[in-house]
């Protein structure tokens, strides 16, 4: 116990400042003001892997590490789409995940936001050319913000999330 406490004290706070929003990532901006007025600054996120190679998942997981400190920014991953305000979707959507993705989208209460993560989520990418893939996320559900990269860095993903929930960017 003493070692644990000593470790916590010796590391201290390593969290870094949040990145700025980036209007370039925005795909559409139909719901912004309504959502920000409803949500305030807290946001619940549900991640859905719709066919990814698992690379984007690793960078999404990194958002929880002490440097990016997602929860410290009032952003939180939740276990069910019914608790979520925003869906973070990776991968080209593949045939075997199409129904699940549509059901997750339907189960997420309105108003809701969708951020497509990674080259495959944004354009289909290298995996989107596979025969059992349907391509980009927006070909199956509406997308608000698209964050390219293979995989995009946690800073870039965080920028995408913040852009989605800011009314102005």
């Amino acid at each position: 116990m003493l070692k644990t406490l000593r470790k916590i004290a010796s590391i201290g706070l390593v969290s870094e400042a949040a990145p700025q929003t980036d209007a370039v990532l925005r795909v559409r901006s139909a719901l912004d003001e309504r959502i920000t007025s409803v949500l305030g600054r807290a946001l619940c996120i549900r991640h859905v892997d719709a066919g990814s190679c698992n690379g984007c998942e690793l960078e999404i997981q990194a958002l929880g590490n002490p440097y990016y400190n997602l929860e410290g920014r009032n952003l939180r991953f939740v276990a069910s789409p019914r608790h979520a305000d925003l869906l973070l979707v990776t991968g080209p959507v593949v045939r075997n995940m199409e129904a699940a993705l549509k059901r997750v989208y339907a189960a997420t209460p309105d108003p809701k936001l969708v951020v497509a993560v990674g080259d495959c989520g944004c354009t289909g990418g290298i995996l989107g050319e596979c025969p059992a893939a349907l391509g980009r996320v927006s070909s199956v559900i509406p997308v608000d913000v698209a964050v390219p990269g293979c995989p995009p860095s946690p800073v870039r993903i965080l920028q995408g999330i913040l852009t989605a929930i800011s009314a102005t960017a």
């Binding site: 984007c56 929880g64 045939r95 995940m97 290298i126 059992a132």
Partner: protein, 501 residues
């Protein structure tokens, strides 16, 4: 020695050291499998030609034949058996291997979905084809009920479905149904320029990008007769050990968290981030995609960058050792790890479990030691083996391997040989066949590759050891309670994309 006669008859296959290929008849197909099993060899992978690609393997010369292939790991190296199947008849069948190697079952079912070629084994349920509802095996009895989980899971992980049959909290049976992230990667390989296929190989399973792209390049370079510069080979080992270290460090944090010790996740996820940032500073990317390229490496390291990377590795490993002490002394963590999800050695051997999970159950295979390829031919690697087979054993193997990877990294980075980072590469001749085999962080990663006309790929089959280890997870959870499943599952940490392909 019954294996001897197969080995003598087999023809050399380029790529992985010692690899051989063997054309067999229907009766021999089963006899080879029995002899491999009897001699303590392992079943690695099984695949077929796809219906339209007209692939031919090491033993058949005529394109247009259909065939089924099976790769085994023997003491001398990989042995690939090829059974040619006549095209006449609607759905050609071949003798199933399930009784000898249980892990073959799902591979046979997946191959059947892809090519229509069926094994003679009784379980013919589709695996990758999800058009109809899956028929799970039901458990009857008083008080038995089912818990259905997935495909979308509660955490940030890949999708798959788990069907638990439970009484109260006790798990009687688990059956996994995967294939949700099936993209058709094998078919996508067909026709791609063979000198660009490493990019797709790296994305078979993003956490094993180095392992898959190296195995792909190993096969390809053997087929083209390309001599990879010694410096590039050492840099590849740097990347492979960084991938192993990063994944082990991440898993150790997640395992602490699943045992109710959030401190572990905070500390290890910080260490992983430190490592990724150092990797990014050295190689220009946090994850090592597209860095192992045909002929060598896409990026070289200056000695200053290598030294900076070594400093971070040293710091991460030193902190990991300190945290191991904290895990070991934490009674709550120890209580959750010990005896949870136990996979005993005889069962692990019967199921043909591979890699890290196998080493935690007393099966001491590590390709870096057993069938080393350059540069591991000139490096000493200490195998990490535990006998317990429980979560604690899999945690201990990760700690030991992380430390050993750190040691290897410091050795590699301090003595990088001079030379070029890559050699020139030509496309191999039409019909050339090669195999790559690399010990990734999960275990042996195999890529079987065949060239088509004009520098294209005729057929490429990538194999992740998770194929072997998923069925073992179903046994490891039996008799445990449902709330321990996330912990036990994380201690295996198997690939979904890597097997769904």
């Amino acid at each position: 020695m019954p294996m001897r006669r197969w080995w003598d008859r087999a023809q050399p296959v380029v790529g992985a050291p010692g690899a051989r290929g063997l054309g067999v008849g229907r009766e021999e197909w089963l006899q080879v499998a029995r002899d491999v099993a009897a001699s303590g060899g392992a079943f690695l992978s099984l695949w077929t030609t796809l219906n339209d690609d007209g692939a031919r393997g090491p033993a058949t010369d005529s394109p247009g034949d259909t065939a089924v292939y099976c790769a085994y790991l023997t003491d001398q190296g990989v042995l690939i058996a090829e059974l040619a199947l006549p095209r006449e008849g609607e759905e050609p069948t071949y003798p199933g291997l399930e009784e000898i190697f249980p892990a073959a079952s799902r591979l046979q079912r997946a191959a059947s979905d892809l090519s229509g070629m069926r094994s003679s084994d009784p379980d013919t349920r589709p695996w990758l084809n999800h058009e109809r509802p899956y028929e799970f095996i039901r458990v009857d009895g008083e008080g038995v009920h089912e818990i259905a989980v997935g495909p979308v899971h509660a955490g940030t992980i890949e999708p798959g479905h788990f069907r638990f049959s439970v009484v109260g909290e006790k798990v009687l049976r688990l059956e996994a149904h995967l294939g949700y992230v099936h993209k058709g990667i094998e078919r996508r390989f067909c026709g791609l320029p063979i000198l660009e296929g490493h990019r797709l190989a790296a994305r078979v399973s993003g956490d094993s990008a180095v392992a898959f792209s190296w195995a792909y390049c190993q096969a390809l370079e053997g087929m083209s007769g390309c001599a990879v510069p010694r410096r590039a080979v050492w840099l590849r080992a740097v990347c492979l050990e960084l991938e192993r270290l990063a994944n082990h460090v991440a898993d150790l944090g997640a395992l602490g968290n699943d045992a109710g010790f959030a401190f572990g996740l905070a500390q290890f996820s910080r260490l992983k981030e430190d490592l990724l940032r150092a990797i990014s500073a050295a190689f220009g990317r946090r994850y090592l995609f597209d860095i192992v390229v045909p002929g060598g490496m896409a990026v070289d390291l200056s000695q200053e960058t290598a030294d900076a990377l070594a400093d971070t590795v040293r710091a991460v490993c030193s902190e990991a050792t300190e945290l191991r002490g904290i895990y070991d002394e934490h009674e709550g963590v120890r209580d959750r790890f010990t005896a949870a999800g136990c996979l005993e050695t005889p069962l692990a051997a019967r199921l043909g479990v591979l890699g890290l999970v196998g080493r935690a159950s007393g099966l001491g295979r590590d390709l870096r030691v057993d069938v080393p390829w350059p540069p591991y031919t000139e490096l000493y690697v200490a195998k990490a083996v535990q006998q317990g087979g429980d979560v604690a054993a899999r945690v201990a193997v990760r700690f030991d391997e992380a430390r050993e990877s750190g040691r290897l990294l410091l050795q590699l980075l301090s003595a990088l040989p001079d030379g070029e980072r890559a050699a020139a590469m030509d496309s191999p001749a039409d019909g050339a066949f090669g195999v790559g085999l690399v010990e990734g962080w999960r275990g042996p990663v195999l890529v079987a590759l065949q060239a088509g006309p004009e520098g294209s790929i005729r057929r490429c089959h990538p194999h992740d050891p998770s194929w072997q280890n998923w069925p073992a997870l179903e046994y490891a959870i039996m008799g445990n309670i449902v709330p321990d499943f996330p912990l036990i599952n994380k201690s295996f940490n198997l690939a979904y994309s890597g097997v769904d392909l």
